[in-house]
């Protein structure tokens, strides 16, 4: 099944207008910043970002802000609760005539995977449960990157972080599997839920634009290459992000009205190794000796994911398919 974009069909559809000024304090090649820039283009200028502690918190450092829009840094655990307060206050003030309706804003949570997967998960699920009308971008660099790259629940099996070092006794690095935030969120049936990648800007922006048609929680997880943490050159950030999609490691998908759709399905999957090999956080899987077991597991997980995905998209009743 091929997915057809509706709003952003060609690169020419992307507005030239920038809402995020350059020269921020982010690391060169930050994938999270790239995702945010594209998200903002799709949302337009009337936005208030509600931020949880993480890398992007350092976007607004007194007396500077790179945004033409508004910004509220809250704390690590409770950005969705901050979004609730802002959304509700805007609604009430407009309802009571104390603020003109033209002053309304889109409320957007911006948070890293460290906050989204753990300390901020409760407040996120609660906001989704309440049906809060907001956007939520988790820029997923697969670790607590702002504090120097320690393991988060989003860190993949086999990746090296500051708290899952590679030693003789712990040759795999991170032993746990990446927590499936998409499925955790999906259980609550948010109005719109998608994974995105800055390497696929049309896919990202089209999802944001279509999500805007729905009221309620609109949640996005963007894989965000982290050059210093992943050990890649800043110039290769977008290329690594593209490899994550082309190897099938980072599926681009969305769900609304209960239906799961893969918006981009690589015609020919490249081997997962192609994605891993270029990143220093996986170097121990290749040298001094190849860790065949770990490499096999990572490839097998991707294969199994897509086998199930194809099964579910090709047959209307997956339970029947099991008996074939």
């Amino acid at each position: 099944m091929t997915f057809h974009r509706e709003v952003y069909k060609s690169i020419k559809d992307i507005p030239r207008q920038e809402y995020l000024a350059g020269g921020t304090g982010m690391c060169a090649g930050c994938g999270g910043l790239l995702a945010l820039r594209l998200l903002h283009k799709a949302l337009g200028p009337n936005v208030v970002f509600v931020n949880a502690a993480g890398c992007l918190t350092l976007l607004a450092v007194f007396p500077f802000t790179p945004f033409h829009s508004s910004w509220l840094y809250t704390a690590m655990a409770s950005a969705p609760a901050g979004a609730q307060g802002v959304r509700d206050a805007l609604d009430i003030l407009i309802e009571k005539g104390r603020l003109p309706a033209t002053d309304d804003l889109k409320v957007v949570v911006v948070t890293g995977d460290g906050a989204a997967h753990g300390i901020g998960l409760q407040s996120t699920l609660a906001a989704v449960h309440r049906g809060l009308d907001f956007y939520y971008l988790c820029y997923d660099n697969e670790a607590f990157a702002n504090t120097g790259f320690q393991m988060s629940p989003a860190s993949p099996h086999g990746s090296r972080t500051g708290t899952t070092p590679v030693t003789a006794a712990t040759s795999v690095g991170t032993a746990t599997a990446k927590q499936d935030l998409f499925q955790l969120w999906r259980a609550q049936q948010p109005a719109f839920l998608a994974t995105v990648s800055p390497a696929y800007p049309l896919d990202l922006m089209d999802k944001v634009a279509r999500a805007g048609r729905a009221r309620g929680p609109k949640l996005f997880i963007g894989l965000a290459a982290c050059p210093p943490g992943w050990g890649v050159e800043p110039a290769d950030s977008a290329q690594v992000a593209k490899l994550a999609v082309d190897t099938g490691v980072w599926p681009l998908k969305e769900t609304h009205d209960g239906e799961l759709v893969h918006t981009i399905r690589p015609r020919h999957f490249r081997p997962v190794e192609d994605y891993l090999r270029g990143q220093a956080r996986y170097r121990h899987l290749f040298e001094p000796v190849r860790q065949e077991g770990v490499l096999h597991r990572l490839q097998a997980e991707v294969d199994r994911y897509w086998a199930e995905a194809d099964l579910n998209t090709q047959t209307p009743n997956p339970r029947l398919a099991v008996h074939h």
Partner: protein, 410 residues
Amino acid sequence: MTRELLTGNAAAAWGARLAEVDYVPVYPITPQTEVIETLAQWTSSGELKARLVTMDSEHSMLTAAGAAAATGARVFTASSSQGLVYGFEMLYTIAGWRVPLVLLNVSRALSAPITLEPDHNDVLAARDCGFLQIHAESCQEVLDSVLMAYRLAEQRDVQLPIIVNLDGFYLSFTREPVEVPCVDAVREFLPARKPLHGFSASHALAQGVAVLGGTGYSFFKYQMQRAAEAALAVHDAVTGEFCHHFGRCYGAVEGFRLDDADWVIVMSNSFSTVGKEEVIRLRAEGEKVGLLRLRLIRPFPSQEIEWLLGGRRGVAVIDQNISVGKGGILFGEVASALRARTAPPLLSFIGGLGGRRFRGREFDLVMSALHAAENTGGSSEPTLLYSEAEYVQVMDMLRVAHRLPDTHQA
């Protein structure tokens, strides 16, 4: 204006209703729940045109409260004890945002051991965060303080959030006659909030941004200190206006039989009522004693306290809290307000922890200690009030806990 029998919790809810708050994020905790249930009833029926949202924790509740206030709404919220300390991070954050809102705290002692009845370790833990604090003695004062709190917090030179404190159980669940002013009179005293700034399409605003280094950080913290200092004079003006509108007058502190008193007992919150009864009894027995009730805890009215206590023959601070390893928190605060030249002998007593009631004759003990201290100068060591009967009672419980035979049988 109507006169009704209201609990402290209901009086607080009436305060929020009369302030015509826009937004009430909530999370239940004993003994605060009656406040939010009452408000939920009114927001559901339309008697209060506000949005009430049940959050997932006090941390989220305070975040939503602060964010809504930063957007421009008038916000009321309420918590207690564990809830207050669970949301503690956000107290500093909201205060740093310089957003006015009212947080009601229904005092309850902190775990462990987990318990229900009040002391003030919860609210006094929040004394350094930038929230202003008013501590109420009666149900009437709870309602009145909520109204005055909005005026104080929203004043241009202040712009700080504020906690109104009442004791759990002793005040939260006690019905007292309360005059409920009519909404028109309240509107005259407390018009709708006019926010200095907020988030909107026509005015972009970056709020809560990081500062790097001590220069910027110190500046913003010093600004908060200056605002809190300014709040002292604003408080006097606001209470004066309230007195003019409604005939009930409050100060930063309340003096009871203080004018000719040689001896002063310092207390706060609802147990002050007990202290006042004891003052009346001791006066009848010939002791020239008065009571100073601390009402405005932040900003702390040091000068007024120094003026009221300086030159007395002796002062005893009875703290319903304990800073473990130090003693009474308010004792330290009062001591810091006094100046060596005029400072009277100052004594520290701890009582009322976890709602413990004062036992008969404990104020006699305070008085005899004050008389003795006139010669010795007193000591800053706290006296921990506890009775023989209580000790026996707890020893019995310990025997049960350890499955030991009763001493009467052994």
